[in-house]
Amino acid sequence: MSADPTAIGAVRRPPGRWALRLAGWRDFARRFLRRPEGLIGILIIGFFAVLALVPSLFVGPLELVTSSSGGRLEPPSWAHVLGTDNLGRDVLNLTVHGARISMLIGFLATLVTVVIGASLGIVSGFVGGSTDTIIMRITDFFLVLPTFVLALILAPIVLEIIGNGEILGMRTTLFVIVIVIGITSWSTTARIIRSQTLSVKERAFVDRARVIGAGHWHTMRVHILPNVTGLIVANAVLVFAGAILTETTLAFIGLGDPFAPSWGQILGASQDAGAPGLGAWWWYVSPGVCIVLVVLAFTLIGGALDDLLNPKARGHR
C-alpha cells in the first residue's frame, strides 16, 4: 500500500542515490540506442560476444591437427563453408573459436589499461603538485614511445617472470599479451581522465566534502570517480578497439599461441604459409572480416558515446 504514491497520507520519499543513478543510466541507454551507429555497434558486439561465450555450440570443439575434418587448403564448399587451412582444419571452426581468444584478450587488456590509466589520471589530477608533475612526465614519455616495438621486447621478459603454463585455465602466453598491451597503452586514458578530474575537482561539492573533513581517498572514490565514469566507459570502448588491433598485430608478427589461435594468430599462420601467394584468400579473409567488424563496432559505439557525453558536440546536428 505504501508504494502507492496517490494514497492519502503517503509520504513521497525522494528517490535514493542509486535509484537516481539507475534512472540516469536507463535514460542514457535509451538515447544511445536511438542512434543508428550505437545500435549497429551493440548488435555486432553482441553477436561476437555470443560466439566467444559458446563457440563449441556452433561449430563443435576446436579442430586440431589430429582432428582436422578436411583436406589441405580446400576452397569454400558446402562441407567447409569458409574452406580449410594448410592442415585441413575448417576455417569457420577456427574463426569462431578465434572469437573467444581475441575477445578475451581484448577484454582483459582493456581492463588492465583502463584501471592503470584511470587511477593514475584521477590521482594525478586530484592530488596535483609534484605527484601530478611526476605522473604526467611518465605519461608523456609513454605517449611518444613506439609502444609496439617496446611490446615486442617486453613480451619475452614478462613470459620469463610469469613462466610457462596455465593460469585459471588460460595459457600464460595469452596473459603475456594482456600485460604487455596494458603496460604500453594506458597513457592516453590517464591524460583524458586527468583533465576531466581537474574540472570535476573545481565543483562546489568537492569543496564542501573537503570542508566537512573528507580525506583524499574518500573524495576521489565517492565524488570524483562517479563523475568521470562516463568518460572512462567511453574511453574503454576505444581502448578495446585498439587492444584488438594490437593483439592482432602482435599475434601476426609471431607472439601468438598456435594452441590458442586468435584471429591475429590465424592471419599470421596464413601469412607464414604463404596463403596470399597461393591464392588461398579464404584462409585469412574470414578472420580479417571479424577483426574489422569488431574494431568498427567499437569505433561506432565510441563515437556515439562521445556525441552524447560531449556537450560541445551535442549542439551540432
Partner: protein, 323 residues
Amino acid sequence: MGSHYLSRRILQAILTIAGIVLLNFVLFRMMPGSPDRISHNPNASSEARAAIRARWGLDAPLFPDQFVAYLEATAQGDFGQSFKFKGKDVTEVIAGRIWPTLILFGLGELIAIVVGLVLGAYSGWKRGGVVDYAGNGASLILYSMPYFLLGMILLVIFATALGWFPTAGMFELGRTYPTFLDQVADFVHHLILPLAAVSLGLIGQYSIVMRSSIIETRGEDYVTTAKAKGISESRVLRGHAVPNALLPTVSLIGINLGFIIAGAITVEVVFSWPGLGTLTQEALEARDYPVLQAIFLILAITVVLANLLADIVYGRLDPRVRT
C-alpha cells in the same frame, strides 16, 4: 617569446631521449640472452664468456661503471653483435635495412597526408553529401583494418590473381639491369603494392581527424563572418577553415607516428620488403635481442624527433602556443 617555446620543446625531447636510453639499459639487462646471462651460460666456451665479461665490464658495479660503459657504446653506435647473423655488428645489420623503410614510409606518409587531408576537409565541409558518406564510410573501414590485412588482400588480388605486380621483395631476384633506369622501374614496380597498403591505411586516420576538425571550425564565428562578407565557398574553406582545422591534425600526425610503426613492420612482412620491419620479425623469430633493442632505440628516437618537428610546425602555424 618564440624561442622560449622552442627551447622548452627541445629540452623535453632531450629528456625523453635520455629516458629511452635509460629504459633500454634496464631492458638490456633483464632480457633473456643479456650479456650477464650469456656470461653464466655453461654452453658458451670459457673464452667467449670471458670476452663478454670484459666487453660489458660485468665485473664492475652496475652503476655507474656498467651504465657509463653502455652509454659510451651507445653513443658510438655500438649495439653489440647480432645473435642471428653470426659475427656481424648490429649496426651493420641494421644499416642496410633503413633506407627501404624510409622510402616506403616517407612516400606513404606524404601521399596519405595530402589525400587524407583533402578528402577529410572536403567531406567535412560538405557534411551529409555523397562524398562525405562514401569517404567517411571507407575511412572508417580502412581505419578499422590492420595494415597487413589490407596488404594481404591487395597482394592476392593484384599480384596472385591478376599478376600485375610482383608478390615479394624490392627487386627481381637475379635480374641484371642494362641501364639504371630499368632498375628504378623494377623498384617502382615492386614498391606500388606495399606503398598502396601503407597509404590507404593512413588515409583513413587522417581523413577522419581532418573531417571532424573541419566540422568544428565550420561553426566558428570567423567562418560565418567570412561567408557574410560574400567570400566564395572555396576561398572560405581554403583561407579560413582549413588553416585552423589543420592544427589538431598536425599534432596527431606526430603522435600517431609511434602507432604507425606497428603497421609499418607488418606491411613489410607481407610483401617481404627488406626493411626494418622484416628485420624486426626475423630478429623476433631468431630471438635476436641485440638487434631488437637497437631497432627499438632507433625508432623511439625517430618518433621523439618527429614529435619535436610536429611541435615546431604547430608553433609556426598557431602563434597562440608560442609562449
